[in-house]
Amino acid sequence: MKILTGNDLETGDVVWWTGEFWSRHVEESIDVADGGDAIAAREEGARRVNAPYVIDAEQTDVGPRPLHIKDRIRAIGPTVRPDLAVRPVDAAAGNWVI
Protein backbone atom coordinates (compact mmCIF):
# COMPACT_ATOMS: atom_id res chain seq x y z
CA MET A 1 0.00 0.00 0.00
CA LYS A 2 1.02 3.65 -0.40
CA ILE A 3 0.61 6.22 2.34
CA LEU A 4 1.23 9.95 2.39
CA THR A 5 3.32 11.77 4.95
CA GLY A 6 4.81 15.22 5.53
CA ASN A 7 5.40 17.74 8.28
CA ASP A 8 3.00 20.23 9.77
CA LEU A 9 3.91 23.62 8.35
CA GLU A 10 3.85 25.55 11.62
CA THR A 11 4.91 22.99 14.22
CA GLY A 12 7.06 20.75 12.04
CA ASP A 13 5.36 17.66 13.51
CA VAL A 14 5.40 14.50 11.40
CA VAL A 15 1.90 13.97 10.00
CA TRP A 16 0.05 11.29 8.02
CA TRP A 17 -2.85 11.64 5.60
CA THR A 18 -6.06 10.05 6.88
CA GLY A 19 -8.25 10.84 3.88
CA GLU A 20 -9.75 13.89 5.59
CA PHE A 21 -7.03 15.50 7.65
CA TRP A 22 -3.42 15.13 8.75
CA SER A 23 -2.89 13.00 11.85
CA ARG A 24 0.14 12.58 14.07
CA HIS A 25 -0.55 8.85 14.21
CA VAL A 26 0.65 6.69 11.36
CA GLU A 27 -1.93 4.00 12.11
CA GLU A 28 -4.63 6.40 10.93
CA SER A 29 -3.11 6.57 7.44
CA ILE A 30 -5.13 5.45 4.45
CA ASP A 31 -3.95 3.78 1.28
CA VAL A 32 -3.64 6.60 -1.26
CA ALA A 33 -2.84 4.19 -4.11
CA ASP A 34 -1.92 6.28 -7.16
CA GLY A 35 -3.54 9.45 -5.84
CA GLY A 36 -0.81 10.51 -3.41
CA ASP A 37 0.95 13.09 -5.52
CA ALA A 38 -2.28 14.89 -6.37
CA ILE A 39 -3.33 15.01 -2.72
CA ALA A 40 0.14 16.19 -1.75
CA ALA A 41 0.05 19.02 -4.27
CA ARG A 42 -3.41 20.14 -3.16
CA GLU A 43 -2.63 19.98 0.55
CA GLU A 44 0.72 21.69 0.20
CA GLY A 45 -0.90 24.41 -1.87
CA ALA A 46 -3.43 24.93 0.91
CA ARG A 47 -0.55 25.11 3.44
CA ARG A 48 -1.92 22.26 5.51
CA VAL A 49 1.34 20.34 5.18
CA ASN A 50 5.00 20.88 4.33
CA ALA A 51 7.18 18.73 2.07
CA PRO A 52 4.70 15.83 1.65
CA TYR A 53 5.77 12.60 -0.03
CA VAL A 54 4.36 9.16 -0.77
CA ILE A 55 5.91 6.04 0.80
CA ASP A 56 5.44 2.30 0.70
CA ALA A 57 3.77 0.73 3.70
CA GLU A 58 2.26 -2.56 4.81
CA GLN A 59 -1.02 -3.20 6.56
CA THR A 60 -0.62 -4.69 10.05
CA ASP A 61 -2.98 -5.56 12.92
CA VAL A 62 -2.48 -2.08 14.34
CA GLY A 63 -2.71 -0.23 11.06
CA PRO A 64 -0.31 0.78 8.30
CA ARG A 65 3.41 0.51 8.97
CA PRO A 66 6.02 2.18 6.72
CA LEU A 67 8.32 -0.29 4.99
CA HIS A 68 11.47 1.79 5.33
CA ILE A 69 13.08 2.22 8.72
CA LYS A 70 13.46 5.99 8.17
CA ASP A 71 9.71 6.48 8.07
CA ARG A 72 9.14 4.05 10.93
CA ILE A 73 11.46 6.26 13.01
CA ARG A 74 9.58 9.34 11.80
CA ALA A 75 6.34 7.68 12.85
CA ILE A 76 7.42 6.95 16.39
CA GLY A 77 10.23 9.34 17.31
CA PRO A 78 13.97 8.87 17.94
CA THR A 79 14.65 5.29 19.02
CA VAL A 80 17.11 6.58 21.60
CA ARG A 81 14.51 8.74 23.34
CA PRO A 82 11.51 6.46 23.99
CA ASP A 83 10.29 9.09 26.46
CA LEU A 84 9.67 11.38 23.47
CA ALA A 85 7.92 8.73 21.36
CA VAL A 86 4.62 9.63 19.74
CA ARG A 87 3.12 6.85 21.85
CA PRO A 88 5.30 6.79 24.97
CA VAL A 89 2.83 4.50 26.71
CA ASP A 90 3.53 1.74 24.21
CA ALA A 91 6.36 -0.30 25.71
CA ALA A 92 6.87 -2.11 22.41
CA ALA A 93 7.33 1.14 20.47
CA GLY A 94 11.08 0.61 20.12
CA ASN A 95 10.68 -2.89 18.69
CA TRP A 96 8.07 -1.67 16.28
CA VAL A 97 10.58 0.67 14.69
CA ILE A 98 13.15 -2.03 13.95
Partner: protein, 544 residues
Protein backbone atom coordinates in the same frame (compact mmCIF):
# COMPACT_ATOMS: atom_id res chain seq x y z
CA UNK B 1 35.45 37.53 25.03
CA UNK B 2 34.40 39.46 21.98
CA UNK B 3 31.61 41.99 22.60
CA UNK B 4 29.34 43.02 19.76
CA UNK B 5 29.73 46.61 18.66
CA UNK B 6 26.75 48.56 17.34
CA UNK B 7 27.30 47.22 13.82
CA UNK B 8 27.28 43.58 14.93
CA UNK B 9 24.18 44.10 17.03
CA UNK B 10 22.33 46.02 14.33
CA UNK B 11 23.09 43.36 11.73
CA UNK B 12 21.85 40.55 13.95
CA UNK B 13 18.75 42.44 15.16
CA UNK B 14 17.83 43.39 11.59
CA UNK B 15 18.17 39.78 10.53
CA UNK B 16 15.75 38.69 13.26
CA UNK B 17 13.18 41.27 12.11
CA UNK B 18 13.64 40.21 8.50
CA UNK B 19 13.20 36.53 9.33
CA UNK B 20 10.14 37.25 11.48
CA UNK B 21 8.56 38.86 8.45
CA UNK B 22 9.55 35.95 6.19
CA UNK B 23 8.08 33.38 8.59
CA UNK B 24 4.84 35.34 8.83
CA UNK B 25 4.60 35.48 5.05
CA UNK B 26 5.27 31.76 4.77
CA UNK B 27 2.59 30.92 7.33
CA UNK B 28 0.17 33.29 5.62
CA UNK B 29 0.86 31.59 2.30
CA UNK B 30 2.42 34.61 0.60
CA UNK B 31 5.53 32.60 -0.21
CA UNK B 32 5.88 28.95 -1.12
CA UNK B 33 8.18 26.43 0.53
CA UNK B 34 10.47 26.58 -2.49
CA UNK B 35 10.82 30.33 -1.96
CA UNK B 36 11.06 30.05 1.81
CA UNK B 37 13.49 27.15 2.15
CA UNK B 38 16.65 29.09 1.21
CA UNK B 39 15.58 31.89 3.56
CA UNK B 40 15.09 29.60 6.54
CA UNK B 41 18.33 27.76 5.79
CA UNK B 42 20.19 31.09 5.85
CA UNK B 43 18.97 31.30 9.43
CA UNK B 44 20.02 27.80 10.38
CA UNK B 45 16.51 26.33 10.25
CA UNK B 46 16.38 22.88 8.65
CA UNK B 47 13.44 20.53 8.26
CA UNK B 48 14.70 17.29 9.76
CA UNK B 49 13.26 13.86 10.40
CA UNK B 50 10.82 14.80 13.16
CA UNK B 51 10.54 18.57 13.10
CA UNK B 52 12.37 21.77 12.27
CA UNK B 53 15.93 21.76 13.56
CA UNK B 54 17.75 24.98 14.49
CA UNK B 55 21.54 25.11 14.35
CA UNK B 56 22.96 27.95 16.42
CA UNK B 57 26.45 29.25 15.72
CA UNK B 58 28.96 29.27 18.55
CA UNK B 59 31.84 31.27 17.05
CA UNK B 60 35.08 29.31 17.55
CA UNK B 61 33.23 27.37 20.23
CA UNK B 62 33.42 30.17 22.83
CA UNK B 63 30.49 30.98 25.12
CA UNK B 64 29.90 33.12 28.19
CA UNK B 65 27.88 31.87 31.13
CA UNK B 66 25.03 34.15 30.10
CA UNK B 67 25.02 32.77 26.56
CA UNK B 68 25.14 29.21 27.83
CA UNK B 69 22.26 29.89 30.19
CA UNK B 70 20.24 31.24 27.26
CA UNK B 71 20.95 28.01 25.37
CA UNK B 72 19.53 26.09 28.33
CA UNK B 73 16.53 28.39 28.50
CA UNK B 74 15.82 27.84 24.79
CA UNK B 75 16.07 24.08 25.28
CA UNK B 76 13.46 24.24 28.02
CA UNK B 77 11.10 26.85 26.59
CA UNK B 78 11.11 26.05 22.89
CA UNK B 79 12.47 22.54 22.59
CA UNK B 80 11.98 19.34 24.56
CA UNK B 81 14.38 20.09 27.35
CA UNK B 82 17.71 19.36 25.70
CA UNK B 83 20.17 20.41 23.03
CA UNK B 84 22.81 18.62 21.00
CA UNK B 85 26.40 19.93 20.79
CA UNK B 86 27.86 19.18 17.38
CA UNK B 87 31.20 18.40 15.77
CA UNK B 88 31.18 21.96 14.38
CA UNK B 89 31.32 23.38 17.92
CA UNK B 90 27.69 24.48 17.52
CA UNK B 91 24.43 23.50 19.21
CA UNK B 92 21.35 22.07 17.52
CA UNK B 93 17.77 21.93 18.75
CA UNK B 94 15.69 19.10 17.35
CA UNK B 95 12.08 20.06 18.02
CA UNK B 96 11.62 23.64 16.88
CA UNK B 97 8.29 25.11 15.80
CA UNK B 98 8.45 27.40 12.77
CA UNK B 99 6.17 29.91 14.38
CA UNK B 100 8.53 30.21 17.38
CA UNK B 101 11.79 30.36 15.44
CA UNK B 102 11.87 34.19 15.23
CA UNK B 103 11.38 34.45 19.01
CA UNK B 104 14.29 32.07 19.55
CA UNK B 105 16.50 34.13 17.25
CA UNK B 106 15.50 37.27 19.16
CA UNK B 107 16.48 35.63 22.46
CA UNK B 108 19.79 34.64 20.90
CA UNK B 109 20.39 38.14 19.53
CA UNK B 110 19.89 39.54 23.03
CA UNK B 111 23.01 37.61 24.10
CA UNK B 112 25.00 38.33 20.93
CA UNK B 113 24.26 35.03 19.20
CA UNK B 114 22.60 33.96 15.95
CA UNK B 115 22.15 31.13 13.49
CA UNK B 116 23.38 33.01 10.41
CA UNK B 117 25.64 31.06 8.02
CA UNK B 118 25.12 27.78 9.82
CA UNK B 119 23.76 26.41 6.54
CA UNK B 120 24.13 27.07 2.85
CA UNK B 121 27.06 27.42 0.47
CA UNK B 122 28.81 30.14 2.42
CA UNK B 123 31.67 30.41 4.89
CA UNK B 124 30.39 28.61 7.97
CA UNK B 125 31.13 29.14 11.63
CA UNK B 126 34.89 29.52 12.11
CA UNK B 127 36.23 26.81 14.38
CA UNK B 128 39.28 26.82 16.61
CA UNK B 129 41.17 25.07 19.37
CA UNK B 130 38.86 24.56 22.34
CA UNK B 131 41.78 25.33 24.64
CA UNK B 132 42.52 28.67 22.90
CA UNK B 133 43.66 31.35 25.30
CA UNK B 134 44.42 28.78 27.98
CA UNK B 135 46.65 26.06 26.53
CA UNK B 136 50.22 25.93 27.77
CA UNK B 137 51.44 24.99 24.29
CA UNK B 138 49.94 27.81 22.20
CA UNK B 139 51.94 30.64 20.62
CA UNK B 140 49.11 33.07 21.18
CA UNK B 141 45.33 33.03 21.42
CA UNK B 142 44.03 32.11 17.93
CA UNK B 143 40.54 33.50 18.59
CA UNK B 144 41.19 37.14 17.63
CA UNK B 145 42.16 35.81 14.19
CA UNK B 146 39.09 33.61 14.14
CA UNK B 147 36.99 36.64 15.07
CA UNK B 148 38.60 38.69 12.31
CA UNK B 149 37.65 35.90 9.91
CA UNK B 150 34.12 35.87 11.33
CA UNK B 151 33.73 39.57 10.63
CA UNK B 152 35.30 39.30 7.19
CA UNK B 153 33.13 36.31 6.20
CA UNK B 154 29.80 37.45 7.69
CA UNK B 155 27.54 38.50 4.82
CA UNK B 156 30.57 38.71 2.52
CA UNK B 157 28.76 39.66 -0.69
CA UNK B 158 31.10 37.74 -2.96
CA UNK B 159 31.14 34.55 -0.90
CA UNK B 160 27.49 34.09 0.03
CA UNK B 161 26.89 31.70 -2.89
CA UNK B 162 30.05 29.65 -3.17
CA UNK B 163 30.08 26.39 -5.14
CA UNK B 164 29.65 24.59 -1.76
CA UNK B 165 29.89 25.19 1.96
CA UNK B 166 33.23 26.33 3.30
CA UNK B 167 34.81 25.58 6.68
CA UNK B 168 37.84 27.31 8.20
CA UNK B 169 39.70 26.46 11.40
CA UNK B 170 42.49 28.35 13.17
CA UNK B 171 44.91 27.02 15.78
CA UNK B 172 48.11 28.29 17.40
CA UNK B 173 49.89 25.18 18.64
CA UNK B 174 51.70 22.21 17.14
CA UNK B 175 49.17 19.88 18.72
CA UNK B 176 46.13 20.09 16.48
CA UNK B 177 42.94 19.86 18.52
CA UNK B 178 40.72 21.30 15.78
CA UNK B 179 41.40 18.93 12.85
CA UNK B 180 42.69 21.78 10.66
CA UNK B 181 43.98 19.46 7.93
CA UNK B 182 40.43 18.24 7.39
CA UNK B 183 39.02 21.71 6.78
CA UNK B 184 38.58 23.62 3.52
CA UNK B 185 41.15 26.01 4.95
CA UNK B 186 43.23 25.19 8.02
CA UNK B 187 45.43 27.86 9.56
CA UNK B 188 48.23 27.32 12.02
CA UNK B 189 49.64 30.41 13.66
CA UNK B 190 53.44 30.17 13.87
CA UNK B 191 56.66 32.15 13.83
CA UNK B 192 59.08 32.14 10.92
CA UNK B 193 62.83 31.92 11.33
CA UNK B 194 62.98 35.69 11.79
CA UNK B 195 60.51 35.42 14.69
CA UNK B 196 57.69 37.13 12.81
CA UNK B 197 54.10 36.06 13.34
CA UNK B 198 52.17 34.44 10.52
CA UNK B 199 50.28 31.39 9.34
CA UNK B 200 50.89 28.06 7.75
CA UNK B 201 48.02 27.72 5.30
CA UNK B 202 46.44 24.36 4.47
CA UNK B 203 43.79 24.30 1.74
CA UNK B 204 41.59 21.53 0.40
CA UNK B 205 41.02 19.12 3.25
CA UNK B 206 37.69 17.63 4.12
CA UNK B 207 35.71 14.56 4.97
CA UNK B 208 32.42 13.55 3.34
CA UNK B 209 32.19 11.38 0.24
CA UNK B 210 35.75 12.11 -0.91
CA UNK B 211 37.95 12.60 2.14
CA UNK B 212 41.21 14.48 1.67
CA UNK B 213 44.02 15.72 3.85
CA UNK B 214 44.75 19.35 3.04
CA UNK B 215 48.13 20.13 1.50
CA UNK B 216 50.13 23.15 2.66
CA UNK B 217 49.84 25.85 0.02
CA UNK B 218 51.87 28.45 1.88
CA UNK B 219 54.29 27.69 4.65
CA UNK B 220 54.36 31.21 6.00
CA UNK B 221 51.84 33.94 5.40
CA UNK B 222 52.71 37.19 7.21
CA UNK B 223 49.96 38.10 9.68
CA UNK B 224 49.49 41.55 8.12
CA UNK B 225 48.36 39.94 4.84
CA UNK B 226 45.90 37.57 6.42
CA UNK B 227 42.59 38.88 5.10
CA UNK B 228 43.71 39.67 1.55
CA UNK B 229 45.25 36.21 1.20
CA UNK B 230 42.05 34.54 2.44
CA UNK B 231 40.14 36.64 -0.06
CA UNK B 232 42.40 35.38 -2.84
CA UNK B 233 42.00 31.74 -1.74
CA UNK B 234 38.23 32.09 -1.83
CA UNK B 235 38.18 33.97 -5.10
CA UNK B 236 40.09 31.27 -6.94
CA UNK B 237 37.72 28.66 -5.52
CA UNK B 238 34.64 30.74 -6.30
CA UNK B 239 35.80 31.12 -9.88
CA UNK B 240 36.84 27.54 -10.62
CA UNK B 241 34.95 25.36 -8.09
CA UNK B 242 32.77 22.72 -9.77
CA UNK B 243 29.31 24.24 -9.64
CA UNK B 244 28.17 21.65 -12.19
CA UNK B 245 28.43 18.71 -9.81
CA UNK B 246 27.49 18.89 -6.14
CA UNK B 247 29.74 15.92 -5.34
CA UNK B 248 32.73 17.67 -6.84
CA UNK B 249 32.00 21.20 -5.70
CA UNK B 250 34.09 21.38 -2.50
CA UNK B 251 37.45 23.12 -2.74
CA UNK B 252 39.25 19.84 -1.98
CA UNK B 253 38.24 18.56 -5.44
CA UNK B 254 39.52 21.71 -7.16
CA UNK B 255 42.84 21.57 -5.31
CA UNK B 256 43.13 17.86 -6.03
CA UNK B 257 42.27 18.20 -9.72
CA UNK B 258 44.57 21.09 -10.57
CA UNK B 259 47.17 20.21 -7.93
CA UNK B 260 48.18 22.12 -4.82
CA UNK B 261 51.06 23.88 -6.59
CA UNK B 262 48.86 25.19 -9.40
CA UNK B 263 46.14 26.24 -6.97
CA UNK B 264 48.78 28.05 -4.88
CA UNK B 265 50.12 29.75 -8.00
CA UNK B 266 46.68 31.01 -8.93
CA UNK B 267 46.13 32.25 -5.39
CA UNK B 268 49.42 34.16 -5.51
CA UNK B 269 48.42 35.71 -8.83
CA UNK B 270 45.02 36.71 -7.50
CA UNK B 271 46.54 37.91 -4.27
CA UNK B 272 48.89 40.26 -6.13
CA UNK B 273 45.75 41.98 -7.38
CA UNK B 274 43.70 41.75 -4.18
CA UNK B 275 46.49 43.29 -2.12
CA UNK B 276 46.12 46.51 -4.07
CA UNK B 277 42.48 46.84 -2.94
CA UNK B 278 43.33 47.67 0.67
CA UNK B 279 41.35 44.81 2.20
CA UNK B 280 43.70 44.09 5.05
CA UNK B 281 42.48 45.90 8.13
CA UNK B 282 44.79 48.45 9.73
CA UNK B 283 46.69 47.09 12.75
CA UNK B 284 44.47 49.15 15.03
CA UNK B 285 41.43 47.14 14.00
CA UNK B 286 43.07 43.85 14.84
CA UNK B 287 44.25 45.29 18.14
CA UNK B 288 40.69 46.40 18.90
CA UNK B 289 39.46 42.84 18.36
CA UNK B 290 42.37 41.26 20.21
CA UNK B 291 41.73 43.47 23.26
CA UNK B 292 38.46 41.60 23.77
CA UNK B 293 40.44 38.42 24.23
CA UNK B 294 42.84 39.76 26.84
CA UNK B 295 43.57 37.07 29.44
CA UNK B 296 41.33 37.18 32.51
CA UNK B 297 42.70 38.50 35.80
CA UNK B 298 44.48 35.35 36.87
CA UNK B 299 45.67 35.20 40.46
CA UNK B 300 49.38 34.80 40.84
CA UNK B 301 51.40 32.81 43.33
CA UNK B 302 48.89 29.96 43.43
CA UNK B 303 49.99 26.48 44.34
CA UNK B 304 49.96 23.69 41.76
CA UNK B 305 49.30 21.11 44.47
CA UNK B 306 46.04 19.18 44.23
CA UNK B 307 44.62 16.91 46.92
CA UNK B 308 44.17 13.55 45.17
CA UNK B 309 42.86 11.63 48.18
CA UNK B 310 39.45 10.94 46.59
CA UNK B 311 40.29 8.19 44.07
CA UNK B 312 37.36 8.93 41.73
CA UNK B 313 38.37 12.58 41.60
CA UNK B 314 41.97 11.58 40.91
CA UNK B 315 40.82 9.55 37.90
CA UNK B 316 38.83 12.47 36.53
CA UNK B 317 41.74 14.79 37.17
CA UNK B 318 44.09 12.56 35.21
CA UNK B 319 41.80 12.13 32.24
CA UNK B 320 39.70 15.31 31.99
CA UNK B 321 42.08 18.16 32.78
CA UNK B 322 44.75 19.72 30.61
CA UNK B 323 47.80 21.90 31.24
CA UNK B 324 47.08 25.63 31.52
CA UNK B 325 49.51 28.40 30.62
CA UNK B 326 49.01 30.07 34.00
CA UNK B 327 50.53 28.41 37.09
CA UNK B 328 47.88 27.31 39.56
CA UNK B 329 45.21 26.88 36.88
CA UNK B 330 43.96 23.98 34.75
CA UNK B 331 41.69 23.43 31.78
CA UNK B 332 38.76 21.19 32.74
CA UNK B 333 36.80 19.16 30.20
CA UNK B 334 33.21 18.17 30.92
CA UNK B 335 32.39 14.91 29.20
CA UNK B 336 29.01 14.82 27.47
CA UNK B 337 29.55 11.08 27.02
CA UNK B 338 28.15 9.31 30.05
CA UNK B 339 28.25 5.54 29.49
CA UNK B 340 25.12 4.64 27.55
CA UNK B 341 24.17 8.30 27.02
CA UNK B 342 23.73 10.22 23.78
CA UNK B 343 27.03 11.79 22.70
CA UNK B 344 26.81 15.59 22.75
CA UNK B 345 23.34 15.83 24.29
CA UNK B 346 22.81 17.92 27.41
CA UNK B 347 19.59 18.67 29.26
CA UNK B 348 18.45 22.24 29.92
CA UNK B 349 19.38 21.75 33.58
CA UNK B 350 22.85 20.49 32.71
CA UNK B 351 23.41 23.39 30.32
CA UNK B 352 22.37 25.86 33.01
CA UNK B 353 24.56 24.16 35.58
CA UNK B 354 27.55 24.39 33.25
CA UNK B 355 26.78 28.10 32.84
CA UNK B 356 26.74 28.53 36.63
CA UNK B 357 29.98 26.62 37.05
CA UNK B 358 31.66 28.69 34.35
CA UNK B 359 30.68 31.86 36.19
CA UNK B 360 31.82 30.49 39.52
CA UNK B 361 35.04 28.73 38.51
CA UNK B 362 36.16 29.70 35.00
CA UNK B 363 36.05 33.49 34.56
CA UNK B 364 32.64 33.16 32.92
CA UNK B 365 33.93 31.21 29.91
CA UNK B 366 33.04 27.92 28.27
CA UNK B 367 34.04 26.21 25.07
CA UNK B 368 32.35 23.63 22.90
CA UNK B 369 34.72 21.03 21.48
CA UNK B 370 34.48 19.34 18.09
CA UNK B 371 34.48 16.10 20.06
CA UNK B 372 31.10 17.20 21.50
CA UNK B 373 32.31 17.98 25.00
CA UNK B 374 32.36 21.24 26.99
CA UNK B 375 35.46 22.96 28.34
CA UNK B 376 35.87 25.24 31.32
CA UNK B 377 39.13 26.85 30.23
CA UNK B 378 40.40 28.64 33.34
CA UNK B 379 39.82 26.73 36.57
CA UNK B 380 41.95 27.25 39.66
CA UNK B 381 43.52 23.96 40.62
CA UNK B 382 42.26 24.56 44.15
CA UNK B 383 38.68 24.62 42.81
CA UNK B 384 38.88 21.45 40.73
CA UNK B 385 37.57 19.16 43.46
CA UNK B 386 34.49 21.30 44.12
CA UNK B 387 33.91 21.58 40.38
CA UNK B 388 34.14 17.84 39.86
CA UNK B 389 31.75 17.22 42.77
CA UNK B 390 29.16 19.52 41.23
CA UNK B 391 29.59 17.92 37.81
CA UNK B 392 29.45 14.40 39.15
CA UNK B 393 26.20 15.11 41.00
CA UNK B 394 24.66 16.20 37.68
CA UNK B 395 25.84 13.21 35.65
CA UNK B 396 28.60 15.27 34.05
CA UNK B 397 31.60 13.81 35.83
CA UNK B 398 32.46 10.91 33.53
CA UNK B 399 36.25 10.49 33.47
CA UNK B 400 36.61 9.29 29.89
CA UNK B 401 38.16 12.06 27.82
CA UNK B 402 39.81 10.59 24.69
CA UNK B 403 39.03 7.03 25.83
CA UNK B 404 37.01 4.56 23.76
CA UNK B 405 33.69 5.69 25.28
CA UNK B 406 34.38 9.38 24.42
CA UNK B 407 32.72 8.67 21.09
CA UNK B 408 31.91 11.27 18.45
CA UNK B 409 28.56 10.34 16.93
CA UNK B 410 26.43 12.31 14.52
CA UNK B 411 22.64 12.37 15.08
CA UNK B 412 22.21 9.63 12.46
CA UNK B 413 18.89 8.13 11.52
CA UNK B 414 17.34 8.94 14.86
CA UNK B 415 17.17 12.60 13.85
CA UNK B 416 18.73 13.27 10.46
CA UNK B 417 16.81 13.06 7.22
CA UNK B 418 19.96 12.35 5.19
CA UNK B 419 20.98 9.35 7.28
CA UNK B 420 21.27 5.75 6.16
CA UNK B 421 21.62 4.25 9.60
CA UNK B 422 21.47 5.16 13.25
CA UNK B 423 24.69 6.29 14.93
CA UNK B 424 23.66 6.91 18.51
CA UNK B 425 22.58 3.35 19.44
CA UNK B 426 25.91 2.06 18.13
CA UNK B 427 27.78 4.57 20.30
CA UNK B 428 25.68 3.54 23.28
CA UNK B 429 26.28 -0.17 22.76
CA UNK B 430 30.02 0.24 22.32
CA UNK B 431 30.27 2.43 25.41
CA UNK B 432 28.31 -0.20 27.35
CA UNK B 433 30.51 -3.02 26.06
CA UNK B 434 33.57 -1.16 27.37
CA UNK B 435 31.81 0.08 30.49
CA UNK B 436 34.62 -1.05 32.77
CA UNK B 437 36.70 2.06 33.24
CA UNK B 438 39.85 0.12 34.12
CA UNK B 439 39.58 -1.59 30.76
CA UNK B 440 39.10 1.75 28.99
CA UNK B 441 42.07 3.30 30.72
CA UNK B 442 44.20 0.28 29.89
CA UNK B 443 43.34 0.82 26.22
CA UNK B 444 44.42 4.45 26.45
CA UNK B 445 43.69 7.11 23.86
CA UNK B 446 41.30 5.63 21.33
CA UNK B 447 39.22 7.93 19.17
CA UNK B 448 36.09 6.22 17.91
CA UNK B 449 33.91 8.21 15.51
CA UNK B 450 30.57 7.27 13.97
CA UNK B 451 28.66 8.78 11.03
CA UNK B 452 25.19 7.78 9.91
CA UNK B 453 25.97 8.43 6.25
CA UNK B 454 28.74 9.32 3.84
CA UNK B 455 28.48 13.02 4.71
CA UNK B 456 30.74 12.19 7.64
CA UNK B 457 29.47 14.68 10.23
CA UNK B 458 30.65 12.10 12.78
CA UNK B 459 34.22 12.32 11.36
CA UNK B 460 34.51 8.55 10.83
CA UNK B 461 37.39 9.08 8.35
CA UNK B 462 39.38 10.66 11.17
CA UNK B 463 38.69 7.98 13.78
CA UNK B 464 41.37 5.66 15.07
CA UNK B 465 38.34 3.45 14.70
CA UNK B 466 35.67 4.79 12.38
CA UNK B 467 32.18 3.49 11.76
CA UNK B 468 30.06 4.44 8.77
CA UNK B 469 26.37 3.60 8.58
CA UNK B 470 25.16 2.50 5.16
CA UNK B 471 21.87 1.28 3.75
CA UNK B 472 22.14 -2.29 2.52
CA UNK B 473 18.92 -3.25 0.78
CA UNK B 474 16.85 -1.27 3.24
CA UNK B 475 18.71 -2.57 6.32
CA UNK B 476 21.12 -0.63 8.49
CA UNK B 477 24.67 -1.82 7.94
CA UNK B 478 27.93 -0.59 9.42
CA UNK B 479 31.34 -0.39 7.82
CA UNK B 480 34.39 -0.50 10.04
CA UNK B 481 37.46 1.64 9.36
CA UNK B 482 40.86 1.87 11.01
CA UNK B 483 43.75 4.27 11.15
CA UNK B 484 42.27 7.74 10.83
CA UNK B 485 43.37 10.81 12.75
CA UNK B 486 42.21 14.40 12.83
CA UNK B 487 45.21 15.54 14.85
CA UNK B 488 48.61 16.84 13.73
CA UNK B 489 49.37 13.31 12.50
CA UNK B 490 46.29 13.52 10.25
CA UNK B 491 45.44 10.41 8.27
CA UNK B 492 42.38 8.91 6.61
CA UNK B 493 40.91 5.71 7.93
CA UNK B 494 40.66 2.67 5.64
CA UNK B 495 37.72 0.29 5.36
CA UNK B 496 38.47 -3.11 6.89
CA UNK B 497 36.07 -5.22 4.81
CA UNK B 498 32.39 -6.14 4.56
CA UNK B 499 29.99 -4.38 6.93
CA UNK B 500 28.10 -5.63 9.96
CA UNK B 501 24.68 -5.35 11.52
CA UNK B 502 24.12 -3.49 14.78
CA UNK B 503 25.36 -6.22 17.12
CA UNK B 504 28.02 -7.43 14.72
CA UNK B 505 29.73 -4.05 14.61
CA UNK B 506 30.06 -3.96 18.40
CA UNK B 507 31.66 -7.43 18.39
CA UNK B 508 33.97 -6.42 15.55
CA UNK B 509 35.13 -3.33 17.44
CA UNK B 510 35.88 -5.49 20.47
CA UNK B 511 37.89 -7.95 18.38
CA UNK B 512 39.90 -5.10 16.86
CA UNK B 513 40.58 -3.66 20.28
CA UNK B 514 41.68 -7.03 21.64
CA UNK B 515 43.98 -7.46 18.64
CA UNK B 516 45.57 -4.14 19.51
CA UNK B 517 46.01 -5.23 23.12
CA UNK B 518 47.81 -8.36 22.01
CA UNK B 519 50.06 -6.62 19.50
CA UNK B 520 50.82 -3.27 21.11
CA UNK B 521 54.31 -2.29 22.12
CA UNK B 522 55.18 -0.02 25.00
CA UNK B 523 53.50 3.37 24.79
CA UNK B 524 51.62 2.61 21.57
CA UNK B 525 48.09 3.86 21.13
CA UNK B 526 45.63 1.86 19.01
CA UNK B 527 46.40 3.98 15.97
CA UNK B 528 50.17 3.61 16.44
CA UNK B 529 49.92 -0.17 16.52
CA UNK B 530 47.67 -0.12 13.47
CA UNK B 531 50.15 2.03 11.60
CA UNK B 532 53.00 -0.29 12.52
CA UNK B 533 51.36 -3.65 11.80
CA UNK B 534 48.87 -2.67 9.11
CA UNK B 535 45.35 -3.88 8.42
CA UNK B 536 46.00 -7.60 8.09
CA UNK B 537 46.07 -8.75 11.74
CA UNK B 538 42.91 -6.76 12.43
CA UNK B 539 41.19 -8.24 9.40
CA UNK B 540 42.13 -11.74 10.43
CA UNK B 541 40.77 -11.21 13.92
CA UNK B 542 37.51 -9.78 12.66
CA UNK B 543 36.76 -11.81 9.56
CA UNK B 544 38.86 -14.84 10.58
Amino acid sequence: MYKYDEYDQTIVDSRVAEFRDQVARRIAGEITEDQFKPLRLMNGLYLQLHAYMLRVAVPYGTLSGKQMRTLGHIARKYDRGYGHFTTRQNIQYNWIKLEEAPDILAELAAVEMHAIQTSGNCIRNISSDQYAGAAADEIEDPRPWAELLRQWSSFHPEFSYLPRKFKIAVIASDEDRAAIQLHDIGLQIRHNDAGELGFRVYVGGGMGRTPMIAPVIRDFLPAADFVSYMEACLRVYNRYGRRDNIYKARIKILVHEIGAAEYARQVEEEWAHVKTLGLDPPPGEFERIAAHFAPPAFETGLSDEIDRSDPDFALWLDSNTHAHKQPGYAIAVISLKPIGGIPGDASAEQIELMADLAERYSFDELRVTHAQNIVLPHVKKADLYALWKALDDAGLGTANLDLISDIIACPGLDYCSLANARSIPIAQKIAKRFENMDRQRDLGELKLKISGCINACGHHHAGHIGILGVDRKGEENYQLLFGGSGAEDASLAKIAGPGFNEDGIVDAVEKAVETYRTLREDGERFVDTYRRVGMQPFKEAIYG
